[in-house]
């Protein structure tokens, strides 16, 4: 048993020995339980215990607690010890309390009373015990009880140094629990002046307190800056013998130096006064110079203390970001550390360089060390150092070195530790997007990511590549080709199948010309992966297949075969079964024009910031990863410190328009597919606030050639329409969705259609409730009957009050006359016979010759014409590019037969559109309506 000084407690030592001699865990527990029973008995017993015994038992309880057992008694005895007049008993009482008592204990009032007594003691050792207890467990109650007393102790001239030290840290603790306890006014200057105290221990403790106070109120404590710089200056110029015991392994007062350097980092710039700033820069230079001096000792303590000060000085230099010379010197110094033999130094140098990389003054200097950093990433034995190297590469990456850094990171990723892979994937994805000048490079990088580390590629990453490919025409063909090649690998990652499925479904046609990637090859390749994939990926593939039916009518039967297989019980997943059967029905029932509309190419995604960055930030809560060069701070004084960097990424929602659901279901974009499937309006309305960025969406022209979709959308409201027509009757469902978080009042839709026009197209609309609740959607039915031919279309006027602001929108309804077309099949002979017949007089025909408003795309033109309502007659016109159509417009009074011919001239990018019918106004209107579409 080792010798014990002070007063040993024999009983305690015996007990500890017993525990150590226990051969098994069970024996130990048995011994402890016996002891607990014994102590409990003593505490409850009739015999009053003297102070020594109480102390001994309380100490035993403490030991048992430290072994990891719960202690649920003895607190009262410990509190009793506080009022003992024996120091040793008091001390144990305080120890038990600081280790075992929660701040919200019921005993806190008793404890506070004892502390009060001890604070009033004339013996400084007792006062210190009380202060230490407050500093250890300081609570709100204590702040209230001692908020007045302790500041006095701190600044009073009578207080002993050792008490002042404790008082400063005690006050710091109380300030952290309740900020209001620090008195202002004259106290401020007295507290600041502690920086001038003769006793180094007092200054060290006071600097911690002042640092916290400055953070709360930088302006009030501004006076500390010049004092801190002076103090720092005296330390860094001191020889190591000057400060006696405050020199640590030949480094003068390293703790105080570091604290002062930290304190100065609260101000930007740290010193407004040019004189003070000059002295500070001298200090920083001296520290940098000293780093170059040969070490005064070989001990690691010497180098650690010296470098601790150096790193803190570099932090301050980076914080100031105003002295190019110091920044570059700091960078060179850290560069030397990169090849130091101490792992700790290499780690810290990499970390610190990350910050230097974000300064415009030192960014280039950091880049010089790229090779060493790449080596660190590959060769370091310690994963945490490798991680720092990765962070630094990320921070130093810019346009000039992006390709090389990304390539090196990709190479390393193949063997990288599992713990850092996910983060690396995010970083590579961000850099590749940010610095891509050529998006084929970007596509290559992301597909490589999936190949190398597919498991670590999160949704955000593969969503993003799809977003970008869809938005950039120039890369679509390349993406289709590359992903097709990647899918040919015998074992390819499921994420590759997802990306592949999505991209081929959209752009497979771009590579279908090559027989090696013909439609059926693409389909078979994708389908060969189907059975290996999770239900979510399978669902995505089914959507790809239905898109294939539209892109490649020639493989329709193969695809339908697959749908058939999966639409029954063979497909255990209900979602897949439903999807397969719905797609199958769609492909059977819908006419090719409906299919073409439904399965239209995805519209471009709204440009927005990548959500990957947000994910990366979430992963690293403590440290925000940076790849952003800040502008240097001007050396001219700017008051107030500013630590907040604007973080626009938080606002970015992390999903990508719900790609995880069927990829073609895009409420708010086209909305068309789900209309057909009949559940779009069951979907939740978008909850964006009225100030969000959704731009108004209203394009009535689009509805000439389609019947369903979102008619209008802005931040407040979404209006969808679904319509059906039979003969001369039409039925419209209007869906009003409130996108806001407030109800829309006085909600009244009404029709704008003159009486005269109403005699040609009559409409009845059912009224709706006047209040549209927040987030709710209501439906309104409208019946229309075409009586006679008319031009234009009726408008819908919607008025409501949002947030006390009246709102009004006027929208054209999709009720143009072509809606009452019935398609008519006819053969070439009868078509041209009729065509000639109707063309005999000018009154019956209308013709327009016009320039194509968008690049000529005959496939798209075909889709539009089919949506227009007439029968497209293939193979009649001698010129295969020409479209000819026939249809009958049904009205109550009469029917008007209509023929149409559209002749595209690719060379001139012009169209000639001719419409012939028995009624001239009809010809003109039909011609106008359709000509507007190209």
């Amino acid at each position: 048993m080792p010798a014990v000084r002070g007063d040993g407690m024999r009983g305690l030592a015996v007990f500890i020995s017993d525990i150590r001699n226990c051969k098994s865990k069970e024996a130990e527990i048995k011994r402890i339980n016996k002891e607990l029973a014994n102590i409990r008995g003593k505490f409850k017993g009739d015999k009053t215990l003297d102070g020594y015994q109480k102390k001994k038992y309380v100490c035993k309880l403490l030991f048992i607690f430290l072994l990891g057992h719960d202690i649920d008694f003895g607190h009262m005895e410990a509190v009793n010890l506080l009022s003992s007049n024996k120091y040793s008993e008091k001390q144990i009482g305080y120890l038990f309390i600081s280790v075992l008592v929660n701040t919200n204990s019921e005993l806190i009032k008793l404890i506070i009373q004892s502390i009060k007594n001890d604070l009033a003691s004339r013996n400084p050792i007792h006062v210190n015990l009380a202060l230490q207890c407050i500093a250890n467990i300081g609570s709100r109650e204590m702040a209230e009880a001692f908020g007045n007393e302790i500041p006095k102790l701190l600044v009073s001239g009578d207080t002993m140094d050792v008490v002042k030290q404790s008082a400063a840290l005690c006050l710091l603790r109380l300030f952290r629990t309740s900020q209001e306890i620090i008195p202002g006014g004259e106290w401020t200057s007295r507290i600041i002046h502690l920086l001038n105290d003769q006793h180094m221990g007092v200054v060290t403790a006071a600097t911690s307190l002042i640092d916290a106070l400055v953070k709360k109120n930088p302006d009030e404590y501004k006076g500390c800056v010049s004092l801190a710089v002076s103090r720092l200056s005296r330390i860094v110029t001191a020889s190591y013998t000057d400060l006696q015991d405050y020199t640590y392994y030949f480094v003068p007062a390293p703790w105080l130096s570091v604290k002062l350097l930290r304190l100065l980092q609260n101000y930007t710039p740290p010193a407004e006064d040019p004189g003070v700033r000059g002295r500070l820069n001298e200090c920083l230079e001296t520290i940098l110079n000293k780093a170059q001096e040969p070490p005064k000792s070989k001990k690691v303590q010497h180098s650690n203390a010296k470098n601790a000060v150096l790193f803190e000085a570099i932090s301050l230099i980076i914080h100031n970001d105003s002295e190019p010379n110091l920044l570059v010197r700091a960078c060179n110094q850290l560069g030397q550390f990169l090849s130091n033999r101490e792992t700790n130094l290499r780690y810290l140098a990499l970390e610190s360089m990350c910050h230097l990389a974000t300064s415009e003054f030192s960014h280039e200097a950091v880049k010089k060390h790229q090779e060493v950093v790449i080596l660190s990433m590959k060769m370091e034995k310690d994963v945490s150092v490798r991680q720092q190297a990765v962070d630094l590469l990320y921070a130093m990456c810019d346009k000039s070195n992006a390709e090389e850094i990304v390539q090196e990171m990709l190479n390393y990723l193949e063997t990288a530790d599992y713990s850092i892979r996910e983060e690396m994937v995010l970083k590579v994805a961000i850099l590749a997007e940010k610095y891509a000048t050529d998006y084929t490079w970007y596509v290559d990088v992301i597909l490589n990511l999936i190949r190398i580390a597919g498991d670590y590629v999160s949704e955000e990453v593969w969503y993003r590549v799809i977003q970008i490919v869809i938005n950039r025409d120039e890369v679509q063909g390349y993406a289709a080709k590359t992903v097709f090649e990647a899918l040919q690998a015998p074992a390819c990652h499921e994420n590759m199948v997802k990306v592949g499925g999505y991209i081929l479904g959209e752009f497979g046609n771009l590579i279908a010309g090559d027989h090696r990637s013909s439609p059926s090859v693409q389909f078979q390749l994708l389908h060969s992966k189907y059975h290996l994939c999770s239900p979510m990926t399978r669902a995505l593939l089914l959507s790809t297949y239905i898109k294939f039916i539209n892109l490649f009518p020639e493989i329709r039967t193969h695809v339908q075969e697959v749908f058939k297989q999966h639409s029954n019980l063979r497909s255990a997943d209900a979602e897949l079964q439903q999807r397969a059967s719905e797609y199958l029905q769609l492909s059977i029932i819908a006419s090719s024009d409906v299919l073409a509309t439904v399965l239209e190419e995805m519209p471009a995604f709204p440009e927005r910031e990548s959500s990957i960055l947000a994910v990366l930030k979430k992963k690293k809560p403590g440290r925000v990863p940076e790849n952003e060069i800040k502008e240097g701070k001007s050396p001219t004084p700017v008051t107030n410190h500013n630590n907040e960097t604007t973080n626009s990424n938080n606002a970015v929602s992390s999903d990508l328009l719900g790609l995880s659901t069927p990829p073609i279901a895009q409420p708010g974009n086209t909305g068309v597919l789900l209309d057909v499937l009949g559940d779009i309006y069951g979907g939740k309305p978008n909850n964006s606030t009225p100030t969000s960025t959704t731009s108004n969406m209203y394009n009535p022209k689009k509805f000439v050639c389609k019947n369903n979709g979102v008619l209008f959308e802005n931040d407040l409201i979404q209006i969808g329409v679904k319509s059906e027509f039979r003969q001369n009757l039409g039925r419209l469902g209007l869906f009003y969705g409130n996108k806001t978080t407030m109800p829309l009042h006085n909600f009244v839709p009404s029709l704008l259609w003159s009486e005269d026009q109403s005699s040609k197209l009559s409409m009845q609309m059912k009224p709706v409730e006047p209040t549209l609740e927040a987030g709710a959607q209501i439906q309104q039915m409208l019946n229309a009957e075409c009586i006679d031919y008319y031009t234009d279309a009726p408008s819908l006027v919607i008025t409501f009050v949002y947030n006390n602001m009246p709102q009004k929108f006027t929208l054209k309804l999709p009720l143009t006359i072509n809606k009452f077309f019935e398609p008519t099949e006819m053969n070439g002979e009868s078509f041209f016979a009729r065509w000639k017949n109707l063309g005999s007089t000018n009154q019956q025909r209308s013709q327009k010759i016009f320039k194509a408003s968008t690049p000529m795309d005959l496939q798209a033109a075909r889709t539009k014409i089919m949506g227009f309502g007439m029968q497209l007659l293939d193979g009649i016109d001698p010129n295969p590019d020409n479209f000819v159509c026939a249809g009958i417009i049904h009205m109550r009074a009469l029917q008007v037969g209509c023929l149409l011919r559209l002749e595209p001239n690719r060379n001139a990018q012009m169209y000639r559109l001719t419409v012939r019918s028995s009624k001239e106004p009809v010809s003109v209107e039909v011609c106008d309506l359709l000509a507007d579409q190209f």
């Binding site: 048993m1 080792p2 000084r5 002070g6 007063d7 030592a13 500890i16 150590r20 020594y52 403490l62 030991f63 430290l66 990891g68 719960d70 120091y87 040793s88 001390q91 144990i92 120890l95 280790v99 050792i125 500093a135 250890n136 300081g138 050792v162 030290q165 404790s166 840290l169 005690c170 710091l172 221990g201 060290t204 403790a205 911690s208 015991d245 405050y246 640590y248 390293p254 703790w255 570091v258 930290r262 303590q301 650690n304 203390a305 601790a308 790193f311 803190e312 932090s315 792992t343 700790n344 290499r346 780690y347 810290l348 034995k381 310690d382 945490s384 150092v385 809560p621 403590g622 440290r623």
Partner: protein
């Protein structure tokens, strides 16, 4: 500093000092997690690691590991030297300290730590001053012990 833990190579906790209030359950969880993490690290590895939103600084002295949790912008190297100074103080006080000294005199280890660090901040970096403070505590205790003994035998 948020907390300091001392534990043995066998993973036994020898001392714990928390500068922020946490429920006991959480303390146990943190302790277990850190002990496992640190014990699996190899000797040549870096003494710092990122852990949750804190930084862990640790160092091994003979059979004992000293582990501190500090905030993001605290100085890692200097934290290593806080640990070293604490070890020096223990060494001076016990005379070539070993794990057993800390087990049998855990309360002393606490008292010494309280003189060095208070509320998680460095209070007194001078070795002499700290040792003097501890010595005067001991003196007080010894006086009291003598006084007690004298009273027991009826001399006072």
């Amino acid at each position: 500093m948020q907390f300091m833990l001392l534990f043995s190579r066998q993973g036994k906790l020898r001392l714990q000092k928390w500068y922020n209030a946490h429920p006991d359950k959480l303390k146990k969880k943190i302790t277990r997690e850190l002990i496992t993490t640190i014990l699996t690290r190899k000797p040549k590895m870096c003494s710092f690691l990122e852990w949750r939103d804190l930084k862990i600084v640790y160092k091994r002295y003979a059979s004992l590991y000293f582990c501190c949790a500090i905030e993001q912008n605290d100085n890692e190297l200097l934290t290593l030297e806080i640990i070293h100074r604490y070890v020096e103080l223990l060494d001076k006080y016990f005379g070539s300290v070993c794990e057993l000294d800390i087990i049998f005199n855990f309360e002393k280890a606490y008292f010494i730590l309280d003189e060095l660090l208070l509320g998680g901040e460095i209070q007194e970096t001078s070795k002499k001053t700290v040792l003097k403070a501890i010595a005067s505590q001991d003196l007080l205790q010894e006086d009291e012990a003598v006084e007690g003994a004298l009273r027991d035998i009826g001399l006072l």
